[in-house]
Symmetry: C2
């Protein structure tokens, strides 16, 4: 497997585009993704009881349709808490795209992100769809335009592509996603779109995705808020010509590994670009009794406001980390825990057996002042481990969210 | 029952004091509470697996001793994650006070709040205890000095006293507490001290307290972090002369009501004075299926960073409230929910049956710009309700916590 340039248009047969359709002021706000041939589609969605209209629409497509071939996205309005009117607009969006692309509406997926509770400006959306269809392109630049058009409070576009060989055939996987607030483990808590020209059965595509989100998107948190719109879609069009993956063989494992690389990259990008974030904060829990315990502990640490503000202040306030582990619900002996801080500036053991070592505060501050900071907690209970990704909590998070709608 | 002036020294026979013992720079940092006669003691403590030394010490006193008569408190250092050395300092503190007051060490409770992981400066603590004993006073001012000495990032002292009649005798309850970070439901998540001259059995005192914290301290959150030190202690010395409450009769109910008034006041004060807070945010969930559901929903709303920043921005971004309800874990129909905002500026219905009403944004902003703001969610599922208290999330929260130790 090797990393390559580009994003969702990197795999064979995928086209994309992003435009400014007038939903947001002077910004790109609509995107489209299209495969020249029908795709197997897999998806995972928010666990929030309050589900946005496009989530409900996509669940129907992913769970009940054989194939999908296009995705219409908008940023600016979430189309959540919009009742039957909102669901109707979702259908109209799909119908408009389907008519222009020669598809059935149920082959068109939709995704929205933005303010909750407002209705979509459906005329602008329909005009946007009509404008995008003739602009669709398989160029790398078109994929980038799409990645830019789905951004809300994101500060950087997020895309990646990797290539692997399956049975002598080059298979490519591309992806793009957007964060960056209302991001919290429990399904993707964001919008993520992955394309691949791999030939793989719908069942195994879903299986690969469902397993992978647990270690990737579900291990990130920006603010503990699980969105109403979280959606991760994977479209596989089979154009790579590999012999179709229909069982959990070596090819399946290779595909899973590549999908994991794509999803891990996108998930970490989202955490690093969390609203207002100045640092990516990675937490590794090792030596845990079980994977479940490691997940609970690592998530509790990345979610703690007090830990996040300490990271913002480059302050080795490790007591807050032990505290967050303590209230996580996991059962452990605090007096066995070792804790390390690590970054490009070095590695430091901060706690041994639950109490502070004689570490240098100066060195700790230097380590914590880097753009990517890791905390490693060794529970000394067993062999299980987990990694979670978050970010620091800064003034800018408040600034962004205190008047998001203005 | 009537509200009166004062705090922990209001009930008969209680003395207190607060001083600057040199743990913090130029600030009061030690306090003492003493009853002229032995007290029945009840307590509730943090559920955090990582428990501070004074929590362990107090649990022993409350659970295994017949009486207690004094409390020694310090702010500045939490004495958490300090191992056996820290527990030893806790014992030394109690021993020092006991020797000077003519008590057994096990009659002296201790409480600490501040930085986790540092050892107590035990010589300063012992000097502080020795300095305080001769200064103990039953004056209102002495109670206030104690309330001030336990403050950390609190901006106002928090004390209250109420009086009721039990069988013709005047019974008084006084209380003080401190917040204001690491505050989150799961036991008090703070230090709170309640004194009363009521005569009540140890068993019923604990029963009254344990029941009451569920509706008061456990319903507040500042930042979702459950501290290692949370402690709520009630001392009852019986000097009011009422006939001892030994069963759940009318007197018990009257006492519970008064205790609830004290604890509700202190809990709301803590939420309102949450780190960096500019507004008290109250959430009432009504029409719920069960009390448990109402608690889960109301706590999820006050805990959401996105809801809290919206309150900070006086922004009626109700979608975030519905979103926080949706990911709470409670099962409900979003399309039945009504939501209101209320404050001294009026009351407004914002959502009806899950979608926005045609409300005035201007009026909503006016309502949300007050110092105390209430959101009321009507689930229309049953008769149960719950109230939770939080605060907005502001720039100052970041400021306070990004370099708390510097």
């Amino acid at each position: 497997m090797r990393r390559m340039e580009g994003g969702v248009t990197a795999p064979e047969g995928f086209m994309a585009i992003g435009i400014a359709a007038g939903i947001k002021k002077d910004k790109k706000d609509m995107a489209m993704l299209y495969s020249k041939v029908p795709c197997r589609a897999a998806g995972t969605f928010t666990t929030n009881v309050v589900k946005a209209a496009p989530v409900k629409w996509d669940q129907n497509v992913v769970y009940h349709q054989e194939t999908a071939q296009a995705v219409v996205m908008n940023s600016g309005i979430a189309n959540a808490c919009t009742g039957t009117e909102g669901y109707g607009y979702c259908r109209e969006t799909a119908e408009t795209a389907a008519a222009l692309l020669g598809l059935r509406p149920e082959q068109v997926l939709t995704a929205s992100t933005g303010v909750i509770g407002k209705q979509l400006p459906i005329e602008a959306i329909k005009k946007g769809v009509a404008a995008m269809v003739p602009m669709l392109s398989d160029s790398q630049a078109a994929g980038t335009l799409a990645a830019e058009a789905i951004m809300t409070t994101d500060t950087v576009k997020k895309e990646i592509a990797v290539q692997l060989e399956l049975g002598g055939k080059k298979v490519t996987i591309g992806g793009m996603c957007k964060g960056s607030g209302m991001i919290h483990p429990n399904m993707c808590t964001m919008l993520s779109f992955v394309t691949t020209d791999a030939a793989i059965s719908k069942e195994l595509l879903q299986k690969a995705l469902s397993a992978d989100v647990k270690d990737t998107y579900n291990m990130i948190s920006v603010d503990g808020d699980t969105s109403t719109n979280d959606t991760c879609l994977v479209l596989a069009n089979g154009l790579a010509g590999n012999s179709e993956i229909t069982e959990e063989n070596e090819d399946f494992l290779a595909f899973r590994e590549a999908l994991n690389a794509v999803n891990t990259y996108l998930a970490k990008q989202m955490a690093a670009d969390g609203e207002g974030a100045s640092a990516l904060f990675e937490v590794k829990v090792v030596g845990a009794e079980s994977k479940e315990q490691a997940v609970i502990l690592s998530k509790s640490i990345i979610t703690s406001s007090l830990v996040k503000t300490a990271i913002c202040g480059h302050d080795a306030n490790w007591g807050r980390i032990l505290c967050a582990m303590g209230y996580s619900g996991a059962v452990f002996d605090p007096e066995k825990v070792d804790l390390y801080f690590e970054s490009s500036a070095g590695r430091l053991k901060i706690i041994e057996n639950g109490v502070a070592t004689d570490y240098s505060e100066e060195k700790a501050t230097e380590i914590l002042s880097q753009k990517e900071v890791t905390a490693i907690a060794d529970m000394k209970m067993g062999e299980a481990c987990a990694t979670a990704w978050g970010c620091d909590l800064t003034y800018d998070y408040i600034k962004i969210n205190a008047d998001y709608r203005s």
